[in-house]
């Protein structure tokens, strides 16, 4: 590579336009593939169809079949071959299509993706991103609405993130692709079509940081992915009753941002975590334990969990009874003893 006299022009930020999360992810993939020819994208139906959620729409037409292609239908094969590609210096971004479809790849994920760097004493990194459309509230039939984050966050070596809005989706996916650690990139399906004004390319907070998305003084609601909206709606409803709720979007599930969360909890002295996944052994248990261990003397009440029930994800007509709602969040907060 020879040095050139002309600096490459910095990408010009466009004027903000209404962008869906699926559109933001599509733009992130497009820009990452254009910026780095080591980035390849594959999975089931990601080619001409553009993915079942159209996140890869138009990419094969632009970049060709050597950069983005349909794989045979086999999740372990997708992850296992991505490992080999990453070993050879590519940066594969692979799609698991639906949360529960990732389970056949569990062994490759926990035995190899997570451990390769460690077992090789740092000599071999696996720069790869596994995109997993996750969670419910889209009327999916069984195996299409799972929240599998606790399996991945319980595995040292994996980085697990989940954006909740279009700007973060773009920024975090770019950062995940650029990094040297393997990233489980979870995409809440119910948020794919939610729009926000975004000027691309956008850089939001670093991928490993939580962000306070609404300031408040009485309670900290810790949410991620699909439940950030639930938390914000809860905060609106609570405000009408005179309760000031701060909402923290965790964004990164592993690593956990103790600093941002701790600062918020010490300010409000009360915390609750909201997720769709089952409660027992769920990610919220880790959050509640960490927050309590580090902030016990600042807490006025036990950390609460507002989660799905401890059941397999229900059928579409019953999922509304399972998923956490603002009513359920506010009812949970009422179980605390309040001084006033």
């Amino acid at each position: 590579m020879t040095a050139t006299t002309t600096e490459q022009a910095a990408p010009q930020a466009s004027a903000p336009t209404q962008l869906t999360m699926a559109g933001a992810l599509n733009a992130a993939l497009r820009d990452a593939m254009a910026a780095d020819d080591r980035v390849v994208v594959y999975g089931e139906d990601v080619g001409p169809l553009g993915g079942v959620f159209r996140v890869t729409d138009g990419l094969q037409a632009q970049f060709g079949e050597d950069r983005i292609w349909d794989s045979p239908l086999a999740e372990s094969g997708i992850i296992g071959t991505a490992i080999g590609m990453a070993m050879y210096g590519m940066r594969p971004v692979v799609e698991m299509q639906f949360d529960a479809f990732s389970y056949p790849a569990f062994e490759q994920m926990v035995s190899h993706v997570a451990k390769m760097r460690n077992r090789t004493k740092g000599r071999m990194s696996l720069p790869m991103v596994v995109r997993i459309p996750c969670a419910g509230a889209i009327g999916g039939v069984e195996h299409h609405s799972d929240s599998s984050e606790a399996y991945w966050t319980a595995t040292p070596g994996l980085t697990v993130v989940m954006p909740s809005n279009p700007a973060d989706a773009y920024s975090m996916l770019r950062e995940a692709i650029d990094g040297d650690d393997p990233v489980v990139f979870m995409e809440p399906k119910s948020r794919y079509w939610s729009k926000a004004p975004v000027a691309l390319p956008v850089t939001t907070a670093p991928m490993d940081r939580a962000v306070v998305v609404r300031e408040g003084t009485d309670v900290t609601l810790l949410a991620y992915g699909p439940t950030v909206r639930t938390a914000l709606e809860s905060a609106d409803a609570a405000a009408a009753e005179g309760l000031s709720i701060e909402v923290v979007d965790l964004r990164s599930l592993s690593p956990f941002d103790d600093e941002t969360v701790g600062a918020s909890v010490r300010k409000t002295s009360r915390a609750a975590v909201i997720h769709e996944a089952a409660q027992f052994g769920g990610y919220g248990a880790e959050v509640a334990a960490r927050v309590t261990e580090r902030n016990f003397h600042h807490l006025a009440a036990p950390v609460l969990r507002i989660t799905g029930f401890d059941i397999p994800f229900p059928s579409p007509k019953l999922e509304e009874f399972h998923l956490p709602t603002p009513d359920r969040v506010l009812a949970a907060l009422d179980t605390w003893e309040w001084d006033d």
Partner: protein, 384 residues
């Protein structure tokens, strides 16, 4: 390159009788039994002989060291030298190898230091060698998983237009795993330059091949994926080398993957913690000992006048020297820094891991202070 290439699928079943270039008496085999393959040149055979002798001496030495408690475990490849050495000798330094836990002698042949090969088996780190430098992946313990890595790397190299080949070894038991199927299928669909060598040593720990598959040969499976399959006498290094060499050349020329079954036998136990007398007959072991891959080639080389006494002495010396070097390495206690536990989990440092590292560092400092003050180091109750 288009991934939508139309290609000719393979429909011919491999021969049920294994391909053989040297019979058990060390005589050259001609005609149909040789499957159209040629006996390699004498120089090549002599080099294969040398590599097998060194490999066996190493294997015997490591098994002995394991019995002495110097290693936590060691899966021996005694009796499988023709498969192990014949196939690995058919690829080049630029090619990538994806081994299993049993393939230590193939790593030795690939030029990896004995101490680095044995680092995981002696327990001081999971993997001791530089994967990139040797173009050799870590020895995989989960079965058949590494076959997918071999396919992925081959595909990446092909996209980069690097003319390299990947080779992976699997055991007979591993062919029952889902990842073996996915690897064979991905390789065939993507036409990757990958050679799969199934070492059928006839037992998956204690389970015999008859309880593993109803296929007439494991090589038959290739046909279902649309790739060539070869059923080879796995105790005939000439045949293993010739067939894998042809597969490697075809792969490098863009001809796609090949599945090769080497029919062999594991003379030793699965590992040192196994008791093979519980599941196989002494007379079967004796039967296979009489089909020793090294003796067979030796007979041929002697009959051709290609192996002199002085050469044999020189090879024995070289093997003894590797064994002595291995003994020396394994009798030195490993020095490991416990703080390194945290260094290689993520490329990007994590606050929580740095906290845990600091905790262990404080514990180690405390322990060092106690060690410097005898008496204080006694744990409560230890004085009784």
């Amino acid at each position: 390159m288009s991934l939508n290439v139309e290609h000719q699928s393979v429909r011919t079943l491999p021969s049920e009788k294994p391909i053989r270039l040297l019979d058990n008496a060390g005589h050259a085999v001609h005609g149909a039994a040789a499957g159209g393959f040629e006996l390699p040149e004498l120089d090549t055979l002599l080099e294969l002989y040398r590599r097998m002798v060194i490999a066996r001496r190493f294997d015997v030495q490591v098994t002995a060291l394991t019995r002495q408690g110097r290693l936590a475990t060691y899966p021996s490849a005694y009796g499988q030298e023709a498969c192990e050495i014949g196939a690995i000798s058919a690829i080049e330094a630029r090619d990538w190898f994806f081994p299993t836990y049993r393939d230590s002698i193939a790593l030795l042949t690939r030029g990896i230091e004995p101490g680095d090969i044995l680092q995981s088996f002696r327990g001081d780190w999971h993997n001791g060698y530089d994967q990139h430098a040797h173009r050799t992946a870590s020895q995989a313990t989960p079965l058949a998983t590494q076959a997918l890595h071999a396919v992925g790397l081959a595909h990446a190299a092909r996209l980069r237009q690097d003319p390299i080949v990947t080779m992976t070894y699997l055991g007979d038991g591993a062919t029952s795993e889902g990842d073996a199927h996915e690897a064979f299928n991905f390789a065939a669909v993507w036409q990757t330059p990958t050679v799969f060598l199934v070492q059928n040593n006839q037992f998956a720990i204690s389970v015999p091949l008859s309880r593993q598959t109803r296929a007439a040969t494991l090589a038959d499976k290739a046909v279902g994926y649309g790739m060539p399959g070869y059923h080879v006498d796995g105790n005939d290094v000439a045949a293993v080398y010739a067939v894998t060499r042809a597969a490697v050349e075809r792969a490098r020329a863009g001809g796609g993957p090949t599945l090769i079954e080497g029919l062999t036998y594991r003379i030793e136990a699965h590992t040192n913690s196994d008791d093979p007398t519980r599941y196989r007959l002494a007379r079967d072991v004796e039967h296979w000992k009489r089909r020793d891959p090294i003796e067979r080639l030796e007979k041929y080389l002697v009959s051709e006048g290609a192996l002199s006494e002085s050469m044999r002495a020189e090879i024995t010396d070289a093997a003894e020297s590797v064994a002595a070097h291995t003994r020396d390495l394994m009798t030195v206690e490993a020095e490991i820094d416990p703080l390194e536990l945290f260094d290689h989990v993520y490329a990007r440092p994590r606050a929580a891991l740095l906290e845990q590292r600091a905790r262990l560092e404080a514990e180690l400092a405390d322990a060092a202070i106690h060690a410097a003050q005898p008496g204080a180091a006694q744990p409560a109750g230890a004085a009784r």
